[in-house]
Amino acid sequence: MDNILWHSVFFWAFAVITCGFAVMVVLSDNIVRMAVALIFSLSGAAGLFLLAGADFVGAMQLMIYVGGTLVLLIFGVMLTAQGPFISLKAGSGDWIIAVVMVGLSLAMLLPMAWSVPDWHGPAMGASETKTTKQTALQEEAEADQETVVVEHNVSVTEIGLSLVGVRTDLNQEDQESGQLPEGYLLPFEIVSVHLLVILIGAAYLARAKRPRKPTKYP
C-alpha cells in the first residue's frame, strides 16, 4: 500500500468521472440529462486541474464554466420544452458516422498522446535532465534526492501579477539578459473590450425588434 501514490488514485478517479460523464453527454438524447452530465464532466476536469497544481484555473473552471453550463441547461429546457424531444434523436446513420469518427480520431490522438516518453511521468523518463531554470531551492532538493519531482503550483498572486504585465516566476537573470517576460497586460485589457463587444452583440440579437415599420430589405 505504500507504493500507492494517492495523487494517481485521485487522478484516475477524476479521469473516470470526466470521461464517463463526457461519454454520457454523447450518448444521451435528453438535453437536460446531457447538461447535467456535462456539469459533472467539467467538474471532474476541474478536479484534474486541481491535481495538476492549477488551483486558480480549477476554481475558475468551476465558477465560469460549470456556472455557464447551468445557463446552457436553462436555455435547453426553455427552448425544447415545447417541441417533441423524440424528434431530436440522431439517426442511425449519424451514429455510424460517429463510430467511424471516434475510431479515426482516437487512432489519431491516442498514439499522439502517448508518443513522447518524456511525458509519461517524472520517473518514467529515460534520460536524466538538466534544468536551466532551477532555483536555488530546487538545486538543494536535487542534491538531497536522486529523482526529484519539481512541483510548481502557480499561485493566484503570480497569475494576477502576470495579468498586469509583471512576471514573478522568471528570475532576475532571465530578465536582465534581455529575456522579456511575457506579461499579459494586453490580452487582459483587450479581452475586456472583447467581452463588451460580445455583450452588445448578444444583446442585439436577443432583444426583440422594436415595433417599427418592417425592414424594407429583402
Binding site: G91, S92, G93, D94, I96, I97, M101, L104, S105, M108
Partner: protein, 782 residues
C-alpha cells in the same frame, strides 16, 4: 541654353499637348458639339497640334544652334581621289571599314533620361523615358508639320460631319433608304489627337517597351480611324483586318523584345550600344583597316583563348540577337505593310482621306521604318539582308499592284507600300540616312498626294474610281497643279546635271546610290540594285497614270464633272505648305553645305554589325562612299523614271497604246495583280478558316460538354435531396445512401457537397483534420 534640360521639356510638351486635346474632347466632346460654334473640337485639336509644331520647331532650332547642321562627309574630290587608288571591291570594303572607324564610332549625341520609373523587376527597370537625337527632332518636326496641315485640311474635308443628319449612301438599310446618322466630327478629331500623341510618344520613347505601348496605341487609333464610318461593312472589315494583321506582326515584335531582353538585359535605347559593345568587345577593337571580308575575323571564331563554354554562350547570344532583330523587324513588317503582311493597308483606305494621308502614309506606317532605323545597331547582317530583300519584294510587288488599281486612294496606298519598301531596302543595304531621309521626303509628297486625292474625292462627292474621273484640271487647277508637283516628287524628277530636283529626286537618288554601292561590294546581291531601279519606272508610270486619269483628258462622267468644284482655301493652304516642302525638302539649306540628310546623319548609328558564322559575311559600304555614285545613279534613275513617265503619257494622253488591250493580253497577270496576288484568299484559307473551325469546336465543347456538366450538377443536387428524403424514412438505408452520395458527389458534383446541413459540415471539419493527418502523415512517414 541647356539641351539636356530644355529638349525633354519642349518635346515632352509637344508630345502631351495632343493628349490634352484628346482628353478635353473625349470628356467634353458632347458639349463642344452642342455649342453654336461647331468647329470647336476641331479647332481645339488643331491648335494643340500647332502648339506641338511650334514647340518642335523651337526644339529643332535649339538643336541646330547647339549641334550645328552637320557636315557632309568628305568632299567628293577627296573620295574620287581615293576611289582611283582603290578600285577593287575588296579594297573598297577596307576603305569602308576605315570610314567606319573614323566616323561611325564618333558617338551619337543624344539626350536621354527617365521621367518615371514604372516598375522594377529584379535589376531591370521599366521606365517612362525619352531618347532624343537628331532623328527624333527631325521626325518631330516632320510629324507635327504634316499633322498640322492635315488637321487644317480635315476642318474642310469633314465639314459635313458637323451636320446632325448625314446620309451615308454607302450603307444599305433594309428600307433602301440612305442611312442617316448624326455627324461626329469631334470624334474624328479626338482620335486624330490621340493618334498624334501616340505617334509622337513612339518617336520620343526612350526604350523598346514604351515604343511597344505607343506602337499598340497608334494601332488602336488606326483601328478607330479606319472604322470611322463604322456603319459601312467595308470599313468595319478593314478596321478589323488592319488590327488583326498588325497583331501578327506585334506578336513577332514582342518575341523580339523578349529575345533582346534575354541577350542585352536592357530595352533602353541609350544603353543598347554600350551593352552591345560589352557583348562583343573584340568587334569594336578589331575595326582596323586591315580587316577584310575574307579574313572574316569574327569575335566568335578567332577566340582560341576562350573556352568552348564561352563560345556557346556567345553563339547563343548571337542567335538571340538574330531572333531579336527578326522579331523587331516582324513588328515593322506589320506596321509598315511590308510583303507578307501588307494586305491591310489598301483596305485601310476605307477611312476618311485625311486619315489616309496622316496615318496610313506619312506617319504611322513609317513607324516601322523609324523603328528599324532606331534599332539599327541591333541588326546582324542576316537580319539586314532579310530587311533588304523584304523591301525589294515589297516595293516591286506593290508598284505592280498600283498599276492595275482603279481606286484613286488604292493607287496611292500601293504606292505607299512601295515607297516603304524603298526605305526598308535602303536600311537593309546600309543606307541608314538615305532610308530615313526618304521617310521624311515621302511623308511630305505622299501626304500632299493624299490631300490632293482627298480634294478630288471631296469635289466629286465621294467618288473614288479613276475611270469615272478625267479632265478635272479645268475645274480644280490648283489641286491639279499641286498634285502634279507631288507626282514629280514621288517619281524623283530632277536635273542631274545641275544637281537640282524635287525632294524625291534626292532621297531616291541617295538610296539607289547606296544600293548600287552595296551591289558593287557584294556582287551576289546585285538584284538589290536592279529591281529598285525597275521599280522606279513603275513608280513614275502608275503615279502619272493616276494623274492623267484624274485630271487630264476629257471628263468621262459628265454629271460628276459638272458638280465638281475647287477645294476651299482651308484645304488648299495646307496643300500648298506641303507642296513647298515636297519641292524643297531635299535641298541644301541656303548658305550652308548642309541639308536634312546631314542633320539626320548626326544620329547615324554605328553600322558595325556582328559577323556571324551562319551567313556569308557581307560588306556594308559606309554611306558617304555612295556619294560618288550620285551623279551616275541620278542619270540612270532619271532615265528610268522618264521611261515610266513617257509610257504613262503614251497610254493615257496620246493614247497611242490602249490599256484595255494590254489588259486583255496579260489577262491572268492582270487579274493576279488586281487580286493582290490572291494573298487575301490565301490568308483566308490559311488562317481565317482554321480559326473559324477552332471557334466552332469551342462552341461545340461549350454546348455538349460544359452545359451538360452544369446541368448534371444541378440534377445531382435534386437527386441528393431526394435521397435525403428517402433516407429519413428508411433509417437503415440512410447512412449508406448519405455517405455514398456525399462521397460520390464530392468527387463529381462539387456543388452537392454543400448540403446545408451544419452537422455534416462539422463532420467534414473533423474528417478534414483527420484526413490531412493520415494522408500527409503517411506521405511524410511520420
Amino acid at each position: 541654353m541647356n539641351l539636356d534640360r530644355m529638349l525633354p521639356l519642349l518635346l515632352g510638351g509637344a508630345w502631351l499637348l495632343p493628349l490634352l486635346a484628346f482628353a478635353i474632347i473625349a470628356l467634353g466632346g458632347h458639349y463642344l458639339k452642342k455649342t453654336s460654334s461647331q468647329h470647336r473640337a476641331g479647332f481645339l485639336s488643331t491648335v494643340a497640334i500647332l502648339g506641338s509644331f511650334v514647340l518642335a520647331v523651337v526644339a529643332f532650332s535649339m538643336w541646330v544652334s547647339d549641334q550645328g547642321l552637320g557636315e557632309p562627309h568628305h568632299g567628293p574630290e577627296f573620295e574620287r581621289a581615293q576611289l582611283e587608288e582603290n578600285q577593287t571591291p575588296i579594297q573598297l570594303a577596307a576603305l569602308a571599314e576605315e570610314g567606319e572607324a573614323e566616323h561611325a564610332h564618333d558617338g551619337v549625341f543624344s539626350v536621354s533620361g527617365v521621367w518615371y520609373i514604372w516598375a522594377q523587376v529584379g535589376e531591370q527597370k521599366f521606365e517612362i523615358g525619352y531618347y532624343i537625337d537628331a532623328l527624333t527632332i527631325c521626325l518631330f518636326v516632320m510629324i507635327t508639320l504634316v499633322a498640322s496641315c492635315i488637321h487644317f485640311f480635315s476642318l474642310g474635308y469633314l465639314q459635313e460631319e458637323l451636320e446632325t443628319g448625314i446620309k451615308d449612301h454607302l450603307v444599305a438599310t433594309s428600307a433602301g433608304e440612305p442611312f442617316e446618322r448624326v455627324g461626329r466630327q469631334h470624334r474624328f478629331f479626338q482620335y486624330l489627337s490621340l493618334f498624334c500623341f501616340s505617334m509622337l510618344g513612339l518617336v520620343l520613347a526612350g526604350n523598346l517597351l514604351m515604343v511597344f505601348i505607343f506602337w499598340e496605341l497608334v494601332g488602336i487609333c488606326s483601328y478607330f480611324l479606319i472604322g470611322f464610318y463604322f456603319e459601312r461593312k467595308a470599313a468595319q472589315d478593314a478596321a478589323n483586318k488592319a488590327f488583326l494583321v498588325n497583331r501578327i506582326g506585334d506578336l513577332g515584335f514582342l518575341v523580339g523584345i523578349m529575345a533582346l531582353w534575354g541577350v542585352l538585359g536592357t530595352l533602353t535605347f541609350g544603353e543598347m550600344s554600350t551593352k552591345l559593345a560589352e557583348l562583343a568587345p573584340e568587334t569594336q577593337q578589331q575595326a582596323s583597316p586591315n580587316k577584310t571580308t575574307i579574313q572574316a575575323a569574327s569575335f566568335l571564331q578567332d577566340e582560341e583563348a576562350k573556352a568552348t563554354n564561352d563560345e556557346e554562350t556567345a553563339d547563343w547570344n548571337v542567335g538571340l540577337l538574330i531572333l531579336a532583330g527578326l522579331g523587331i523587324f516582324c513588328g515593322c513588317v506589320g506596321k509598315s505593310a511590308q510583303f507578307p503582311l501588307h494586305v491591310w493597308l489598301p483596305d485601310a483606305m476605307e477611312g476618311p482621306t485625311p486619315v489616309s494621308a496622316l496615318v496610313h502614309s506619312a506617319t504611322m506606317v513609317a513607324a516601322g521604318v523609324y523603328l528599324v532605323a532606331r534599332c539599327y545597331p541591333l541588326f546582324t547582317e542576316e537580319v539586314l539582308l532579310v530587311i533588304a530583300y523584304i523591301g525589294v519584294i515589297t516595293l516591286l510587288m506593290a508598284a505592280m499592284m498600283a498599276l492595275v488599281a482603279v481606286d484613286i486612294k488604292r493607287v496611292l496606298a500601293f504606292s505607299t507600300i512601295s515607297q516603304l519598301g524603298y526605305m526598308m531596302l535602303a536600311l537593309g543595304v546600309g543606307g541608314w540616312s538615305a532610308g530615313v531621309f526618304h521617310l521624311i521626303t515621302h511623308a511630305f509628297f505622299k501626304s500632299l498626294l493624299f490631300l490632293g486625292a482627298g480634294a478630288v474625292i471631296h469635289a466629286l462627292h465621294h467618288e473614288q474610281l479613276l475611270i469615272r474621273m478625267g479632265g478635272l484640271r479645268h475645274k480644280m487647277p490648283w489641286t491639279a497643279g499641286m498634285m502634279f508637283v507631288g507626282c514629280l516628287a514621288i517619281a524623283g524628277a530632277g536635273i542631274p546635271g545641275l544637281d537640282w530636283g524635287l525632294s524625291g529626286y534626292f532621297s531616291k537618288d541617295a538610296l539607289l546610290a547606296q544600293a548600287y554601292a552595296f551591289a558593287q561590294v557584294n556582287p551576289s546581291h546585285v538584284y538589290l540594285y536592279w529591281l529598285p531601279l525597275a521599280g522606279k519606272a513603275l513608280t513614275a508610270f502608275y503615279i502619272f497614270r493616276l494623274w492623267y486619269l484624274t485630271f487630264a483628258g476629257k471628263p468621262r462622267e459628265k454629271k460628276l464633272y459638272e458638280n465638281a468644284h475647287e477645294a476651299p482655301l482651308v484645304m488648299l493652304i495646307p496643300m500648298m505648305v506641303l507642296t513647298y516642302f515636297a519641292i524643297t525638302a531635299g535641298w541644301q539649306i541656303p548658305f550652308t553645305p548642309s541639308s536634312v540628310t546631314t542633320i539626320l546623319e548626326q544620329a547615324l548609328p554605328a553600322v558595325a554589325s556582328f559577323e556571324t558564322p551562319w551567313a556569308a559575311a557581307l560588306n556594308y559600304p559606309a554611306e558617304y562612299l555612295s556619294h560618288q555614285y550620285h551623279t551616275k545613279i541620278a542619270w540612270t534613275a532619271i532615265a528610268t523614271a522618264g521611261t515610266g513617265f513617257l509610257l504613262a503619257t503614251i497610254f493615257y494622253v496620246w493614247q497611242g497604246l490602249r490599256p484595255d488591250e494590254v489588259q486583255k493580253q496579260f489577262g491572268p497577270l492582270f487579274r493576279f495583280l488586281q487580286a493582290q496576288l490572291y494573298l487575301n484568299e490565301v490568308y483566308h484559307f490559311l488562317f481565317v478558316r482554321p480559326l473559324h473551325g477552332i471557334a466552332r469546336a469551342c462552341s461545340w465543347i461549350d454546348r455538349h460538354l460544359i452545359d451538360p456538366f452544369v446541368d448534371r450538377m444541378a440534377k445531382g443536387t435534386v437527386n441528393l435531396a431526394r435521397l435525403e428524403d428517402q433516407g429519413d424514412r428508411k433509417l437503415i438505408d440512410r447512412p449508406i445512401d448519405w455517405m455514398s452520395a456525399s462521397f460520390y458527389d464530392l468527387a463529381v458534383q462539387l456543388k452537392a457537397t454543400q448540403t446545408g446541413m451544419i452537422r455534416q459540415y462539422l463532420v467534414f471539419l473533423v474528417l478534414g483534420t483527420v484526413g490531412f493527418f493520415f494522408i500527409v502523415g503517411y506521405l511524410w512517414q511520420l
